[in-house]
């Protein structure tokens, strides 16, 4: 049973799920007012990276395309936002959207070659993009500030709302993430998602669908890129200073780890995965400089071998086990009573 099938309304599992969701949302809205500024910062990081991980879930979980280059797309959104604000005084909302649009186009460009070839080449292309992005950005220093990057201020809340800038960015990110989650679920449950689901199960069907399918995959790539670009723009607002070393291959791999860990096809899993990615370096850095990387590697392996579906699948599994126990019990009752 898919972790994402919509259970019947009377199903207690579903009610519990929705209840948990409502509680989490309330907590998310209230949290910034009760925790330290640094925690708000970390939470916002989780949200922005969560957007990037969600974009990977869409791309990898649903259309089966591996991108090792989303760090560059994330960075493209970030740098576009920074440059537009810093050099052209563009309002930050527009700047972020512009970053997303540019990322969308980049996604189309990367996705088009994918029409003709195996995923292998897409992996290599995206790898190239991830590796080259910091180098190219560093190189063109007049535009990008080179290795020192560009600094922008975290913007204050608009319309005189009485909210500190860090909390404003938090809510802006939260709202954006929720919009994207809605969009994600819309795509996934709609025609496209069902077509992609059928494709996952049968390659013969995929071959028959041919070109139309390839165009869909490119579109998904572009959408995924656009999402990541907007996430990058928000991230830029959050951290203030964009430098090339923030957006390296390691970040791409972190997105992938977060995606697999949280559950490749889960929208909420993306947040869990992002939280892991954000908090692990802090908690493990004391064990050694390469400890976070090792933890990523082990976590990735553990999920692949033992927990397909990631963290998001755990509730469904437990639910499944509970349900099958109930079913067995019911059958036993029937057998005893039915004579």
């Amino acid at each position: 049973m898919s972790a994402y099938a919509l259970p019947g309304r009377s199903d207690p599992g579903a009610l519990a799920g929705r209840g948990v969701l409502a509680i989490c949302l309330c907590l998310a809205v209230l949290a910034p007012f009760f925790v330290s500024g640094y925690t708000v910062f970390q939470f916002t990081r989780v949200l922005c990276i969560g957007i990037a991980v969600l974009s990977i879930n869409l791309l990898l979980g649903y259309s089966g395309q591996v991108s090792i280059g989303h760090s560059a797309i994330f960075g493209l959104g970030a740098y576009t936002t920074a440059i537009l604000i810093h050099k052209a005084s563009v309002p930050y909302g527009l700047a972020i959207l512009a970053g997303g649009a540019l990322a969308f186009v980049a996604g189309l460009l990367l996705g088009v070659p994918a029409l003709r070839i195996r995923g292998l080449y897409l992996g290599l292309l995206t790898l190239g993009v991830a590796v080259l992005f910091p180098t190219i950005v560093s190189h063109y220093r007049e535009l990008t500030g080179g290795p020192f990057g560009i600094s922008i201020r975290t913007p204050p809340a608009p319309w005189g709302i009485d909210l500190a800038p860090d909390k404003w960015v938090y809510f802006l990110s939260l709202a954006t993430l929720l919009v994207f989650v809605g969009g994600f679920q819309g795509i996934v449950r709609g025609r496209i998602g069902r077509a992609l689901g059928a494709l996952r199960k049968s390659e013969a069907m995929a071959a028959a669908l041919g070109v139309g399918l390839a165009r869909t995959k490119t579109l998904i790539f572009a959408i995924s890129a656009g999402m990541a670009g907007i996430g990058g723009g928000l991230y830029q607002l959050l951290i203030g200073t964009a430098t090339p070393t923030t957006y390296t291959l390691t970040l791409s791999l972190a997105f992938l780890v977060g995606s697999v860990l949280g559950g490749l096809r889960s929208s909420w899993g993306a947040i869990a995965g992002a939280a892991f990615v954000v908090y692990v370096p802090d908690k493990t850095a004391s064990l050694g400089s390469t400890a976070p990387q090792l933890v990523y590697a082990i976590a990735l392996a553990v999920v692949i071998y033992f927990l397909p579906g990631g963290v998001a699948a755990v509730p469904a599994r437990l639910l499944g086990m509970w349900r099958s126990k109930r079913a067995t019990h019911t059958v036993q009752l029937q057998q005893r009573g039915g004579k």
Partner: protein, 293 residues
Amino acid sequence: MTLFFQQLISGLAIGFVYAGLALALSVVYEGAGVLNFAQGEMATVSAFLAWVLTTRGMTFWLAFPIVLVISFVLGVAVERIFIRPLERASEQELLMVTLALYLGINAIVGWSAGYLQKTLTSPFGSDVWIVHGTFITSQQVGAAAVLVGVLLLVGILFQRTSIGLRIRAAAQNPESSRLLGISVGWMLALGWGIAAVVGAAAGTMAAPTIGLQPDMMGPVLLLAFAAAALGGFGSRVGAVVGGLVIGVASSLAAQYVDLLAGDLNQIVPFAVILVVLLFRPQGLFGRASALRV
């Protein structure tokens, strides 16, 4: 003109290293259908092993075969432990596992060896010869000779021995192979072992030149990817030719194209991959049938 030959020579010398790693990638790709992102890190481990043995007093020419044997065993072990459980998994999951291996091995090497660059003394001495105005070092010649030897031996293994034939068969058509009594799983494991040996040779021969530190094979891996793409994934001959071409091309590009002289030299392998992708995805020697969308 001598500058041209100089770049040509140094490009060829490093090209053999790319060829070796590309061959390793090709062998694994033919068998498992996956691009092993950890191939470079496995070679790094081998190079560090050689360093450990030689700095403890062992002569290089005793250490080298020992390192090759250990690398073979490690390659087989990686396949049996990490790849075999995923027999029925998707391409993407396999790729994720090689990424996890890349991250993990790199982290472990970094943690145990530290990031201070070490030196693996060249077993070929430090002579420099001048031929027609071009400088050639004994390390370049020696390393190239060793790598050519390794590549030839692997070629003979695959083309002229029964075991090589079985490995090729298992890679090309596992179902039919089983019906002929071939243990496909073990053939795949042997393939990984052979790939690890070739990678070990490449890493150990490269270490004296490129320096021994945990991230040493990162850039080499990227160029090996380009070499394998150019030659055609799954083609052993293609990997070797591709490696040499990429070596020379990178070297010449760095010399003659200002833009690509410095840090932007990294563009070269990816430009090659893009061109191959757009104009001849199966590479120079690959089979079009090997490509499926």
